[in-house]
Amino acid sequence: MLYRTASQFKTSYHADHALFPVRQDAWLLGIILIFAYAIIPMTASEFTFNALLIPVLIYALAALGLNILTGYAGQLSLGTGAFMGVGAYACFKIITAFPDLNIVVAIALSGFFSAAVGVAFGLPSLRIKGFYLAITTLAAQFFLVWLFEKWGWLYNYSSSGAIQVPNIEMFGIIVAGPNASSVTQYYFVLAVVTAVTWLAINITRGRIGRIWKSVRDMDIAAELVGINLMKAKLSAFAISSYIVGVAGALFVFLWRGAAEPNLFDIPLSFRVLFIAIIGGLGSILGNYLGAILIVALPVVLGTLPGMLGIPIQSATVEHLNVMIVGATIILFLIVEPHGLARFWQIIREKLIMWPFPH
C-alpha cells in the first residue's frame, strides 16, 4: 500500500523526466538524506565514523566512477586503484604548492589530472576490446604505482616515500589532517559525494548516458546509428577517472591521512571493482549498497567473534574475511548477476503490486 503508484499520472514529458517519477522514491531519498545529514552524525561514535561511514562514502564514490566506465560504457578496468592514486598525489602536490588554496578547489582540480591520465590509458580502447583492454588497464595499474614510488617529486622527496596530509583549514575549521575531527570530515565527504552523485545521475540519464550504454550493449550498432565511438569511449574514461581521482583525493586527505604507493596497488582496484559488481553494474544506487557490504563485512567479522566470546586471532579473521568476500562474489554472480541494485528493484516492484500481486 505504501508504494501505490496507481493514482500518479504524468501529464507532461517534463513530469515524466523528473528524477523520481514515483513520489514514494522521492520520500525515501528524503528520509535517507535526513539520516545521513542529521541523525547519523548526532549518534555515531568516532569508531563508526572512521571504520564505517567515511570509508563507505569514499568507496562508493570510487565505485561510482568505475561504474560509469564499466557498467555504463562497458569498458572493463582493473586499474581503478592507480587512478585513485593519481588523484591523491595530484591533490598532495597542489596543496603543498599552494597552501592557501581552498581544499575543495584542490580536490576538484586533482580530478582533472586523473581524468587526463585516464584518457591517455583509455586511448587503446579505440583499438583493443574486451579482456585485452582489461589487461591494458593493468599496464596503467602497475606503471603508475611504480611511478608513485620512483618519482620523488611526487612526494616532495620525503625520506619515507609517503605523503602526509597537513592540517588544512577551510573557513576557520580544520577539515583535513591530524587535528581534524571525524564529524567535520564526515560532513565534508558527504557533501562532496552527494554533489558528485547528483551530477553523475544527470549525466547518465541523458544523452551522454544513452550513448555510453549503446556502446556497452553493441559498439558496432552504436557506430552505425551515428555515435562517434572515440568520443564516447574517451568521455567515459575522462569522467570516470575524474570521479575516481576525486575519490582518491578524499581517500587520502579526508580518511587515511597519509599514503604510501602500495596503498594504491591492485587489491584496492579489486575492492572497488567488487563494490561495483556486487552493487550492480550500470546502477548508481548499487555503488552505495555494494560499499556498505564490502566495508561493513570485515568490520562485522572483526567484532562479531569478540562479542560472542569466541577466541579468534586477527590474522584468521583477515583470512576468513578474504575467503568470505570471494565466496560472496561468486554467490552474488550466481543468484543475481545484476547485483544488489537489482534486488532493490525487484523488492520495489513487488511493493508496488502489493497486496494484489496480479
Binding site: Y13, S214, D217, A222, L224, N228
Partner: protein, 275 residues
C-alpha cells in the same frame, strides 16, 4: 544540421534539396574483397529520390556487404559512391549517418539492456548537442532538448504502434517487435536514405503485413527513400519500384519488378530455385 520543421503527424524525412525522381545515390563499379575473397565485383546501380529500391539475390550474393559499403562500414577497394551529389571518400559509419543514411540489420542490432524508448532516443543522438556542462545540471537547456526530442520519438512510437512496450528492455521483446523498434531507431535519425536489411526475416504472415504497411507508410507519407534487402519475393515485388539482382557478387539484372521477374538469368539463379 537542418532546422527542425514544425512537427507534423510524423517526423518528416530530411529536406535534402533533391526533387522526387532525381538521383539520390549513384553506386559505380564498386568492388570489395576480403583478402582473396571477392564479396562484390564491379557493381553499379543507382537509387532515385522517393523510390523503394530492392536488392535481391541468393544467400552469399553480396547483398549485406553492399549495404555495409553504402553506409561506410566497409570501404570498397574500387569504385565510387556518390550520395546527394557528393562523391565520397573512405569514411566512418557515423559520417554516413550525418549525411543522412540510416539502416536496420539482418540480425537485430539493438541495445539489449536499454528500453524501447532509450533505443529510439539513441537514434536522435546525432541531432542533440547540449554539452557535458548542461547535461550535468540536467534542468534547463538539457532537459528542454531532451523533451523536444522525446516528442519526436513519441510520434515514431505512435506511428509504429509500440506504445505498450515503451519502457520494456528490448532484450525481453519478441523478435517481431525488436525489428519494429529497430525501424523506429532508424526513423528517429530522419534519414534521406533508409537501408533495410531483411526487415521481414523470421516473421509470420501477420507481422510481415504490418511491416510492409510501415515501410509503405514511411515511403509515401514521409517521402523517405528506401533501399531494402528481402528474401520474400512476394513482398519484394509488391513493395518495390525497382529491383537490382545480385548473384555471386555480380549484378545480373536491374529494372522494374515485372522486367526482373521475366529475366531468364534471374529465374535460373534465384527465382527458379526458390519457387
Amino acid at each position: 544540421m537542418n532546422a527542425q520543421p514544425e512537427h507534423t503527424a510524423i517526423v518528416a524525412a530530411r529536406d535534402d534539396g533533391i526533387a522526387p525522381g532525381e538521383l539520390l545515390m549513384d553506386v559505380r563499379n564498386v568492388s570489395l574483397r576480403f583478402g582473396g575473397v571477392k564479396a562484390i565485383t564491379d557493381i553499379s546501380f543507382n537509387v532515385r529520390k522517393g523510390e523503394i529500391r530492392a536488392i535481391i539475390g541468393p544467400n552469399g550474393a553480396g547483398k549485406t556487404s553492399m549495404l555495409n559499403v553504402i553506409n561506410g562500414f566497409y570501404t570498397p577497394q574500387e569504385g565510387t559512391i556518390t550520395f546527394r551529389g557528393v562523391e565520397r571518400r573512405a569514411m566512418k559509419p557515423h559520417h554516413a549517418v550525418r549525411q543522412g543514411i540510416a539502416r536496420t540489420f539482418q540480425n537485430v542490432a539493438l541495445f539489449k539492456g536499454m528500453s524501447t524508448l532509450d533505443n529510439i532516443m539513441t537514434g536522435r543522438s546525432v541531432k542533440m548537442n547540449r554539452g557535458l556542462g548542461w547535461q550535468m545540471l540536467w534542468h534547463g537547456p538539457a532537459l528542454r532538448e531532451e523533451i523536444e526530442h522525446r516528442e519526436k520519438v513519441e510520434e515514431i512510437i505512435d506511428f509504429l504502434e509500440i506504445q505498450h512496450i515503451r519502457r520494456t528492455p528490448v532484450g525481453k521483446l519478441p523478435y517481431g517487435l525488436q525489428k519494429r523498434v529497430e525501424l523506429g531507431r532508424a526513423l528517429a535519425m530522419e534519414p534521406s536514405l533508409l537501408l533495410l536489411d531483411e526487415p521481414m526475416a523470421g516473421m509470420n504472415l501477420e507481422e510481415k503485413e504490418d511491416m510492409s504497411r510501415f515501410i509503405l507508410d514511411v515511403n509515401r507519407q514521409r517521402g523517405t527513400t528506401i533501399c531494402l534487402i528481402e528474401h520474400d519475393m512476394g513482398v519484394v515485388m509488391d513493395l518495390s519500384d525497382r529491383v537490382v539482382v545480385l548473384d555471386y557478387g555480380k549484378k545480373i539484372a536491374d529494372g522494374v519488378p515485372d522486367e526482373v521477374k521475366s529475366n531468364q538469368q534471374v529465374i535460373d539463379a534465384y527465382l527458379g530455385v526458390a519457387h
